[in-house]
């Protein structure tokens, strides 16, 4: 019983640390991204999360030539807004090879604001600019 209790405590402690480390936060400003800085990398899509309020694209790439690959998380606007820009939940799939342009987080953590992606196998370019769609009767 003792070992089970300890294990339970350990699980609870782990859950508590997760809660502290991953607070329930989402709907945010974009001021934490450094829009004066654009990083361009070639990488592979790991995951595409089609969720509110910010869609996330996880991409694996080597930050410097020869460096071990890292996974970074790119943030975008909402699924509704992206749908209107021609996106869908199938716009990216795991293993897609892309050239990615993004504005990194100012604090150096592995996240950024998505700017543009070019599919290396097809040359297709995909962008997101909410302010480019400010007129009525859009198709």
């Amino acid at each position: 019983m003792k070992s089970i209790s300890l294990r339970s405590l350990a699980v609870l402690a782990a859950m508590a640390s997760l809660t502290l480390a991953w607070p329930a936060m989402a709907h945010h400003s974009f001021a934490m991204f450094d829009f004066s800085k654009t990083m361009t990398v070639k990488g592979t899509v790991k995951e595409f999360r089609w969720t509110n309020p910010h869609v996330a694209l996880l991409v694996e790439f080597a930050p410097q030539p020869g460096a071990p690959p890292e996974v970074w998380s790119m943030e975008l606007t909402s699924p509704g807004n992206l749908t209107r820009s021609g996106w869908s939940r199938h716009s990216f799939k795991p293993a897609d090879r892309i050239e990615l342009e993004f504005n990194p987080l100012r604090d150096g953590k592995h996240g950024g604001a998505f700017e543009k992606a070019t599919f290396l196998d097809t040359g297709q370019v995909i962008t997101s600019n909410l302010r480019a769609a400010e007129k009525p009767g859009l198709q």
Partner: protein, 292 residues
């Protein structure tokens, strides 16, 4: 229930059986509520109520905000913050400019009134039904305003809510909306990073009308005695979209805190994703999350 149970022998209902009492109760329940003194009902709309809707201006379609104009009005229509509020706003602006924004809505609670109207980046739609205009939004799951146009007054002591209690009336083609009963915690937001809780006694008056055939204009007057030195007037604009890809979609703000996974039993489940304190998603490798 046994025979005779429910018969009130000491109170004057002697001889009335339980089933009979139930029958009477059922009959009372079936009577219109108006038969009960003091109960105000929403009467069933008549054909003329529905046909009257056709005489209202056409606000159909999906409406997308002019975000560039929202941004511009931060400079052109600044809020008249009182001294105490201005000091707090200055700190929030400094934090935002330093790239360390204090997100007002990272907890995914609704933007509420008047912030939804002021800073949303998402679409909304307007539904007309007899006695009511309903505004439905997108992205945070609970963007919904009920504006009663049936002539009712505000409750004397409304329960405070994020969007408040709204009553409206039509002046020609303009919907005039009066909103009170807003939670003191609801923000008066300049942006998603700058704004303050309204502090109570908030009153919002809006005049919503078509500025152009496909442009809706919301002229707002925000009266916030605990935050602003005078009533603040500003306007917001929305563009009409009719292409079906603009249809409003479900949006649950908290969903972004999770990713889809499969548990040990094969169930589709949500699992938390790592985020920064500011609400940014991070890759699921804790070691690489550390600042370099």
């Amino acid at each position: 229930m046994g025979r005779g149970e429910g018969t009130k022998r000491r109170g004057g209902y002697r001889g009335i059986t339980g089933p009979a009492v139930i029958s009477v109760m059922l009959c009372l329940a079936a009577l219109p509520q108006s038969a009960n003194a003091g109960t105000v009902i929403n009467p069933p709309p008549q054909a003329e109520d529905w046909s009257a809707l056709a005489k209202l201006p056409d606000w159909s379609g999906v409406w997308t905000p002019n975000i560039t104009d929202q941004d511009r009005r931060i400079e052109t229509d600044p809020m008249p913050w009182n001294k105490a509020a201005a000091a707090q706003i200055a700190k929030l602006e400094a934090a935002e400019q330093a790239g360390d924004p204090k997100g007002l809505f990272v907890n995914c609670l609704p933007e509420g009134m008047p912030s939804w109207m002021l800073i949303t980046h998402n679409a909304m739609e307007f539904l007309f039904t007899p006695g009511r205009v309903t505004i439905l939004g997108e992205s945070d799951g609970n963007r919904l305003r009920r504006i009663y146009t049936d002539g009712r007054a505000h409750p004397a002591d409304p329960d405070p809510t994020f969007h408040g209690h709204s009553i409206g009336h039509w002046e020609k083609d303009t919907l005039v909306v009066d909103t009170v009963g807003i939670l003191p915690e609801a923000y008066i937001a300049v942006s998603e990073a700058v704004g303050l809780p309204n502090g109570g006694d908030l009153h919002v008056i809006e005049r919503i009308h078509l500025d152009k055939p496909d442009m809706l204009r919301d002229d707002l007057e925000v009266i916030a005695p605990h935050r602003l030195t005078r009533p603040w007037k500003t306007s917001r604009f929305l563009f009409r979209q009719r292409a079906r890809k603009y249809d409003i979609v479900e949006g649950v703000c908290l969903q972004g805190n999770y990713s889809e996974a499969t548990d040990a039993s094969g169930n589709a489940v949500f699992v938390p994703v790592p985020q920064t304190e500011g609400g940014n998603t991070l890759p699921p490798t804790t070691e690489s999350d550390k600042p370099r």
